[in-house]
């Protein structure tokens, strides 16, 4: 089973790089969707088949892999934006930062006081790398929608870490967390639409009237 895990996590890391290097919003959203769908399999591949892990996997797959991306794709269709034009930092430098962050994540995970059974797997480094990718997207992009994708990827990273202790997380709480994520993206989608209507753009740099 650990081979399957490693393959999934490697693809997840590659998808991180893809989102950092791509200017096309649709491609970014699809990559985040694929990442979410792959991650949803982890509870089953790590903890084996059980009612809990199956429910969790199904819930996460439906929301992270299908429903939330659908919401986002619909949102960009409505605001008719396709590309991330000029990120605050160019795409290539961001990609480079992403590589650095991933290397740092691997080095850091090696020094963490992990339990013996978690020391070899890719779970912890992949989780850290994915969280850092989410942060990079949040900080370096101007389009509100890419920031939402960054938030999703950050959540994905936390989800990977959560797999380590998914037995401690009761299903009710997991469901609540996923539901909150869904509502968050939904509310962000509405706000996005309003931003577009008010400013005729979803560049967040226009959102700068409020400051000291």
């Amino acid at each position: 089973m650990s081979d399957v895990n490693s393959v999934i996590l490697l693809v997840v890391i590659l998808l991180n790089f893809f989102t950092l290097g791509s200017a096309r919003l649709v491609a970014c959203i699809r990559a985040a969707a694929l990442q979410g769908a792959l991650l949803a399999l982890l509870p089953v591949t790590v903890h084996g088949l059980s009612g809990h892990s199956l429910m969790l996997a199904t819930g996460a797959f439906t929301l992270k892999g299908l429903f939330i991306p659908w919401l986002l794709l619909r949102a960009i269709r409505e605001v008719r934006i396709r590309r991330e034009m000029e990120p605050l930092i160019g795409l290539v430098p961001t990609l480079f930062l992403g590589v650095l962050a991933t290397v740092a994540a691997f080095l850091f995970a090696d020094r963490l006081p992990l339990l013996l059974e978690h020391q070899d797997g890719l779970l912890v480094p992949a989780s850290l790398a994915t969280m850092l990718t989410g942060f990079l997207l949040l900080m370096t992009r101007r389009k509100a929608i890419t920031q939402v994708v960054g938030y999703l990827i950050l959540e994905n990273g936390i989800f990977i870490f959560g797999v380590l202790l998914s037995t401690a997380m009761p299903l009710v709480v997991e469901a609540g967390v996923l539901l909150d994520l869904l509502v968050a993206v939904f509310v962000m989608g509405i706000v996005l639409n309003q931003i577009n209507r008010e400013f005729s753009t979803i560049n967040t740099e226009r959102l700068s009237a409020l400051k000291e």
Binding site: L138, Y151, L154, T167, V172, D180, E198, L207
Partner: protein, 474 residues
């Protein structure tokens, strides 16, 4: 019973979605608020033991529950006349969101499972976003976007912190669990590095929500652009709830016998919040943004008090009540002033006292209360924290505390006096002080005043029990 209290606001929320009568929908808020407070008082006086592993009330949650419920009731009555003035904007979104907000806050207050706490706090973010966007203009959407994104990311970090705490339990050779009481009991066997990391992330995550500097950057925007009653609920209620979440992390560290680090972090963030608030409060021309920075300041005072420990913890818990009620009074009256002058900027707001004698007077009195002038409640609580600082032999911090409070007093005073004194800049508009727009802040101020003069015995016991929960148990 507690379940009933949490679910209580949801029925009227559903009702308000289908009811076609505007005014009745507004009154649903007050009716629910009154029922909530009544039930909360009953529950607190009963003090049922913590048997349910998911929800329960200890001394700390009783305190926050009473404060939040009281503040909510005041804001709910205010909302009736406020929404009546704003029929053009409607209340079809506002009323259900406010009701669900109350339910989510109650759930967060009573949660005994870290995951449940997280879900409840994130829900408060999501339902308050439409409230901040009530005015539907460019500025309010900018504020909403910042609030939504910053608080969601912040709370995501709190989730990571929660998982680190779970991993600390795993590292201690225990089957991992996030039930708070279980964690408290097994705290000494938790793996230290993971517990520390967990504390830091919980502090950063819930600290963002609470608005501790330097994580406060959404606060002036959100409080500045949201309607007054939403600002009051956020700055008095939601911040108290987030503070309670941080107190849970402190409790955990204390139970693990590891509270030095937690306390130092709180003292550091507290002082930084006071400092940044002082810097931005001087020459602040916008009265609502000024109140937001005042909120940052008081969150700093709360963190500082708990960080010092001992008597100062008692002072901080007392200050939580005083801050919530005084902020309620200030925000609601500032809302009235903003309505009357159609502005919240000092360049256009002058002589509020002569235009709106009641609201202006209450705003002025609220300013005196919040800056710690005797005989109001905040004076007593800030003085208690100061005594705690000296008792803990931290004279340098005490000096800095006093200095920053003085700077804030002067900075805030310049803005408030400018807005209330002098001749009115503008001929008064249609707006007049109405009963429900003035009575709630008046009652809040009277409560704050009476707290400054006399601390009832049951409240004293509750505060002591709360402070006791935050000390080392050994």
């Amino acid at each position: 019973m507690l379940v009933a209290l949490i679910l209580l606001p949801l029925l009227p929320a559903a009702l308000s979605l289908v009811l076609p009568w505007y005014q009745l929908r507004s009154w649903l808020l007050s009716a629910t608020g009154a029922a909530h407070l009544g039930l909360a008082l009953l529950l607190v006086s009963e003090a049922p033991p913590l048997t349910n592993p998911w929800i329960g009330l200890d001394a700390l949650s009783c305190l926050v529950l009473l404060v939040t419920s009281l503040l909510y009731l005041g804001c709910a009555f205010y909302a009736v006349d406020y929404l009546a003035m704003r029929r053009d904007r409607g209340n079809r979104v506002m009323v259900p969101c406010l009701l669900v907000f109350l339910s989510a806050m109650t759930l967060a207050i009573s949660a005994r499972h870290l995951g449940l706490l997280w879900v409840a706090v994130e829900t408060t973010t999501l339902v308050s976003a439409p409230l901040i966007y009530y005015n539907r203009n460019r500025l309010s959407i900018e504020a909403t976007w910042k609030y939504l994104l910053l608080c969601s990311v912040g709370i995501a970090l709190a989730m990571l912190g929660m998982m680190f705490v779970g991993y600390a339990a795993l590292g201690g050779g225990e089957p991992p669990s996030l039930h708070f009481d279980w964690l408290l009991e097994h705290a000494p066997s938790l793996s230290r590095p993971w517990l520390h990391a967990g504390f830091v992330f919980l502090l950063v995550g819930f600290g963002t929500k609470m608005g501790l500097a330097p994580l406060h950057s959404w606060k002036p925007d959100a409080y500045g652009e949201a309607p007054a009653l939403v600002g009051a609920l956020l700055s008095g209620g939601l911040t108290s709830v987030s503070f309670l979440a941080i107190l849970r992390a402190v409790q955990l560290m204390a139970a693990a016998g590891d509270q030095l680090m937690a306390r130092q972090a709180l003292v550091g963030l507290g002082l930084l919040s006071l400092l940044l608030a002082a810097v931005f409060m001087v020459r602040q021309p916008d009265i609502k943004r000024m109140l937001a920075y005042s909120s940052v300041e008081h969150m700093g005072i709360l963190a500082l008090g708990v960080g010092i420990g001992g008597l100062a913890t008692f002072g901080a818990l007392l200050h939580l009540i005083n801050n919530a009620l005084t902020k309620g009074c200030l925000f609601l009256t500032a809302g009235n002033i903003q309505r009357a002058f159609a502005s919240k900027h000092l360049s256009e707001v002058r002589g509020a006292l002569s235009v709106l004698p009641l609201s202006g007077g209450l705003f002025l009195a609220g300013f005196l209360a919040i800056t710690g002038a005797p005989p109001f409640g905040p004076f007593l609580s800030e003085f208690t924290i100061l005594r705690g600082l000296f008792a803990a032999e931290r004279p340098l911090i005490a000096g800095a505390f006093l200095l920053l409070l003085a700077v804030i007093f002067i900075g805030m005073g310049a803005t408030v006096l400018g807005a209330t004194q002098g001749a009115a800049t503008e001929p008064p508009g249609r707006f007049k002080d109405r009963l429900l727009l003035v009575a709630p802040p008046l009652v809040m101020l009277l409560l704050v005043l009476s707290l400054g003069l006399y601390l009832p015995e049951p409240l004293h016991r509750l505060l002591e029990a709360g402070a006791h929960l935050l000390e080392v148990r050994s």
